[in-house]
């Protein structure tokens, strides 16, 4: 039982374009926990999230979800995983409701799509083709995906980009509800988003030692 919904990483390092981005990163996240990734541009926040999601392979180190390596047991991990990348994955030709229904169905756990739209104030826009959405509204649609098909582990890459103040509040409320229900969150962000009790992972501390200045 102690392994239930525990997400850990040990000694992770990542190489991008033949350059070591970070090395020796470790984290330990229990049910209801939150982890905030910080660090300057290029310190590897997005790379770490992609690595956690399984889109990137770590150059070294191991990940563990419920005591198992996600790469070995991908079915359970993927069923729990909800990843929000830089891009919104919104198809302009589909309506807001169709976009959401597609992703919720693909995640295998179609929840209440209409309610998810309501969380981020998109309900009046449901029948509107997504090409008429503003950047912030597209981001809200991408966030609604997280709520529409419940997953226990959220990996969010800069979720607040383009969001107005009320939407950030809605996101914070959604995050709190998710954690209250025992969900886990990893957020990479530059802005101050309320994550009570979140652990901090400053990636600049894990940058490889540069050779002494020439």
């Amino acid at each position: 039982m102690t392994q239930a919904d525990r997400f850990t990483g040990h000694d992770l390092s990542c190489i991008r374009a033949e350059r070591l981005v970070f090395t020796g990163v470790a984290f330990d996240l229990a049910a209801g926990g939150a982890l905030r990734l910080s660090g300057p541009n290029g310190s590897g926040k997005s790379s770490l999230l992609r690595l956690m999601a399984g889109l990137l392979r770590p150059a070294s180190g191991t990940l563990s979800w419920q005591g198992q390596d996600p790469a070995e047991e991908p079915a359970e991990f993927r069923a729990a995983l909800r990843y929000l990348g830089h891009q919104d994955a919104v198809k302009p030709a589909l309506t807001v409701a169709e976009n959401l229904a597609f992703w919720a169905g693909l995640a295998g756990a179609p929840g209440d799509a209409a309610a998810a739209l309501d969380v981020f104030g998109l309900k009046p826009l449901a029948p509107v083709p997504a090409r008429f959405l503003s950047a912030g509204q597209r981001r809200r649609l991408a966030l609604a995906r997280l709520v529409a098909s419940p997953g226990r582990l959220w990996l969010l890459d800069e979720p607040t980009v383009g969001l107005d103040r009320p939407s950030v509040a809605a996101l914070e409320a959604a995050l709190a509800r998710h954690r209250d229900a025992g969900g886990l969150v990893v957020v990479a962000t530059h802005t101050d988003i309320a994550l009570p009790g979140a652990a901090e992972l400053a990636l600049e501390r894990f940058a490889p030692a540069r050779p002494a200045a020439a």
Partner: protein, 236 residues
């Protein structure tokens, strides 16, 4: 996951029908280019009848390549490909895909190819005999032409998917794609034309059709894996 694949297929078809530019253009290109040949070569019926199978096949090759560039590109650019690659796996298929590729990408490739074929290959299979009339194709060749096209065009889509996946993210990917894919299309072209010619000259189209079928089966087995490996590279 199979429901998920059906959802991806449905979405791709719906997207194509709403913004039909890419696939509609490929079919339009097929028709227009075939019509150009009588104007260029001259309206001599015997000459046209002789080269009709070759014209239809070469044009089908080029047309199916035309829309390949967008096969994965749109989903790659807007981040959809990331999410599809992370979709949950079905348990029975898990063992299979685990030893071959850690993501459900081969199945995704198959689904995208099916959508591509339904939108460009199938219309070309239907239109080929009509355009055959225009080119004075020998009546004995029509049945085999449709059969050979039905076997050959899915193989074209599958082989093309490798090129589409390899050129993801490359600038001017379309030109590179044709250089990569056209040489691989040659077997389908040779046996496709040979089947129709054999039917017309009465030498038996069966061996050519069997070879085309073999090519399709080999493409079905191998191309999704090769494309998935290339896609995985693009996602990293």
């Amino acid at each position: 996951m199979l429901a998920g694949l059906a959802a991806i297929l449905k979405r791709d078809l719906r997207l194509a029908l709403r913004q039909s530019a890419d696939n509609g253009m490929a079919v339009g290109f097929f028709v227009l280019t075939v019509i150009l040949f009588p104007l260029g070569v001259g309206p001599e019926p015997s000459v046209l009848a002789r080269i009709a199978p070759g014209i239809l096949w070469v044009t089908a090759l080029l047309a199916s390549m035309l829309s390949l560039e967008r096969l994965f590109a749109a989903d790659y650019e807007d981040g959809s490909l990331d999410l599809m690659a992370l979709a949950p796996l079905p348990l029975p298929l898990l063992v299979l895909t685990k030893c071959l590729a850690p993501l459900p990408l081969p199945l995704l490739v198959l689904t995208k190819c099916l959508a591509h074929w339904l939108l460009t290959g199938l219309p070309m299979v239907v239109l080929a005999p009509l355009l055959g009339v225009l080119l004075n194709l020998d009546p004995a060749g029509y049945g085999v032409l449709v059969l050979a096209m039905a076997l050959g065009t899915p193989a074209l889509a599958l082989v093309g998917a490798i090129g589409a996946a390899l050129t993801l993210g490359a600038r001017r990917g379309g030109v590179l794609l044709s250089l990569l894919v056209l040489p691989l299309y040659i077997p389908v072209l040779i046996f496709g034309v040979a089947a129709v010619d054999a039917a017309i000259y009465g030498t038996g189209a069966r061996p050519h059709l069997l070879l085309l079928g073999g090519a399709l089966l080999a493409a079905l087995a191998l191309c999704p894996l090769a494309s998935a490996a290339a896609l995985r590279q693009a996602l990293e």
